[in-house]
Amino acid sequence: MTEAVADTKALALRFSTKTALTHAVLILGALIVLLPFYTMLSLSLKAPAEIMQQTGGFIGTQAPFRDDYCIKLGKEVADCMVNPIAYNYSTAFEKAPLLRYLLNGVVVTVSIFFIQVVVALPCAYALAKLRFWGREFVFTLVLFCLLIPVHAIALPLYIMLAKVGLTNTYAALIIPWTISVFGIFLMRQFFMTVPDDLIDAARMDGMSEYAIIWRVMLPTAIPALMAFGIFSVVAHWNDYFWPRIVITGNRDLFTPPLGLREFKGDADGDNFGPMMATACIIVTPLIVCFLLAQRRFIEGITLSGMK
């Protein structure tokens, strides 16, 4: 009996050390993962000199410093003394019109996602649940398109858009992404797991195939859709390459990452404080979205029936 009790303790101990070990490993990993974010946040709080010299710890001394831009415009030195945090964040919003960029980002990512869904969902449904001649071929095509790197086709695409006069418009930011083969692929995998009976029941209830997609498949696929949504939104919210190519005229069409370039001086020195402030602001909406979506999001990526 006493032996059993000792055993219990050993068991409990083993359990707790195991969890503790798990936590230790995960925390170590989290530290490495978080290091750049720590730096990013820290840089967004400090004065330029502190940034370049890497002094001042996490938030810097917060001593006011002289804003060159202001001086150069001919203002008095006393008027140009600014607090680092206030300077970094207010510059991010004023100089780069970040609010405008964020709004553009929302418009663009939401439109892209919306169109992707409208296009991909029916296609995924057909590939998963309808039997028709050429289905395998279409699916193979989807798999092939998955391999095509967008950077490689950027120029032909740009020229095509230019020919129809769409550069420097929202359309240019949106159109190339209206087709998401990844989305088709992911949604198809999910639709494969929706029972056929459900679709047949809908047919018996008098739904057209079109109604089935929006009234049956879409609501049941919400988790998968969220997963796809996160991938799509993250990718296009953060996209730097494509907007830079097509938006050469109007700054009002900038998406948030392009806001970062306002602070690039390249060989003549970047303005890191506001740049990092911008970066922090840009990533925040995504984190919030992820936190809201994560539960259902992970359930959504069903990969069973993969083939």
Binding site: P48, A49, I51, M52, Q53, Q54, T55, D68, Y69, K72, L73, G74, K95, L155, Y158, I159, L161, A162, K163, T167, N168, R244, I245, I247, T248, G249, N250, R251, F254, L258, R261, E262, F263, K264, G265, D266, A267, D268, G269, D270, N271
Partner: protein, 397 residues
């Protein structure tokens, strides 16, 4: 009454936004019927050129664009940039506005002027006097030749400075290679011929190798170099004068001194490539009024008060003699760090581009070769000279 809109593109918003913000009110005062519409800024000179090339294909070119001095050629070759001669011809006292020959040459192709320089930079030396003092240097005995620089490196290292010097070989467009070539008064390209296979070429390469190995220079990227210098790690840094503003903003509590670019011998450099950007007219408009408006803007920013604001807001020099000599006299007295480049003005030479479609590819090949010296990939300079010559010549033919 409708205003005439001039579309305008320029690089480095963080650097030049303030300049234009200062210039614009003055311009509008003189030209109330013109409106300047700022396009999205270019991220770098390369980005600027590529954007213009794409916009040329798309038919969405701006009216005036700012391009790196060495990028003008390609736009001229492809027929995108417009000759400015017709406008200059109409100006009564063009020369009086301070455009002197050396500057105009930078934007002259064939017999026509295509670009008017806007902001001009020259390579200079940056010194952290506190660090230099450890090896017994002060403002009076800063190194003037590359061998003295190497010597200084040795002394600094002995004094416990791990990382005494940085040399901006990686500046875009092989600028520092051209600096070493011009120092010997030798252009890097003549016609379609790459001149690295000359004795001057070998000297340039060997000088670089000596500098890199003699100073055990780290292969820093620009941002890292600026950070190191700001943090007080580096004693000497050779770079474009345009960075003075950035350095002053970021540096720690030490004394910054800029000084003339060292030469191969005591005589100092015989020439130096001009950096910076110049204004090109790329308007596709047929409307004379619009073209006139574009010219008005182009001229305003490259002359007089407009040009002077370049110096006031950045580390660059104005392209315009008048501005430098008359308007900015007091300014340079107050900002000695920015004055160094002005003193070097007589040495100003062209920042050369490599001709043909493969010009940019050639630039890259040379860049890769220079990097090989820094990283230690190449140790035999003669071999490198041969290799580079062959490959670049192949691209230029």
């Amino acid at each position: 009454e409708d205003k005439i809109v001039v579309e305008f593109g320029y690089p480095y918003s963080h650097l030049f936004d303030v300049t234009y913000e200062k210039i614009l009110p003055k311009f509008y005062e003189q030209h109330p019927n013109i409106e300047i519409k700022m396009r999205a800024t270019y991220e770098s000179y390369e980005d600027g050129t590529n954007t213009i090339l794409r916009e040329a294909v798309a038919g969405t070119l701006p009216d005036v664009t700012m391009q790196g001095l060495n990028r003008q050629a390609i736009l001229v070759e492809k027929g995108i940039a417009k000759s400015l001669e017709p406008f200059i011809a109409k100006e009564a006292d063009f020369a009086k506005d301070g455009y002197h020959k050396a500057m105009l040459d930078l934007g002259t192709f064939g017999d026509d002027v295509y670009g008017l320089p806007f902001s001009i930079s020259l390579p200079v030396g940056y010194y952290n006097m506190e660090v230099m003092a450890k090896a017994g240097y002060d403002e009076t005995n800063l190194p003037t030749t590359w061998s003295e620089v190497v010597e200084a490196c040795g002394k600094l290292r002995e004094a416990g400075v791990d990382n005494p010097m940085f040399w901006g070989w990686n500046i875009t467009g092989n600028w520092f290679l051209q600096a070493l070539m011009w120092s010997q008064d030798k252009p890097t390209v003549e016609g379609n011929d790459f001149q690295l296979d000359t004795p001057e070429g070998l000297t340039a390469l060997n000088t670089m190798k000596d500098i890199f190995s003699g100073c055990e220079m780290q292969n820093l990227e620009w941002k890292a170099a600026l950070a190191s210098f700001s943090a007080g790690d580096l004693g000497m840094m050779y770079w474009s004068t345009s960075a003075v503003g950035a350095v002053e903003r970021a540096m720690g509590d030490f004394t910054l001194v800029t000084s003339e670019y060292p030469g191969l011998d005591e005589k100092g450099p015989m020439g130096l490539p001009a950096g910076g950007n110049s204004a090109l007219m790329v308007s596709t408009s047929e409307d004379p009024a619009e073209l006139e408006a574009a010219w008005a803007w182009l001229k305003f920013i490259t002359s007089g008060e407009g040009a002077a604001d370049v110096a006031r807001t950045t580390g660059y020099m104005p392209p315009n003699q008048a501005a430098n000599e008359i308007i900015l006299k007091d300014f340079y007295a107050d900002n000695p760090a920015k004055a160094t480049a002005v003193r070097q003005l007589p040495l100003l030479r062209e920042w050369q581009a490599y001709p043909g479609d493969n010009g940019l590819a050639a630039t890259q090949v040379i860049y890769d070769g220079l990097e090989g010296i820094v990283t230690g990939e190449y140790s035999d300079m003669t071999e490198l000279q041969e290799e580079l010559t062959e490959e670049v010549q192949d691209l230029l033919k």
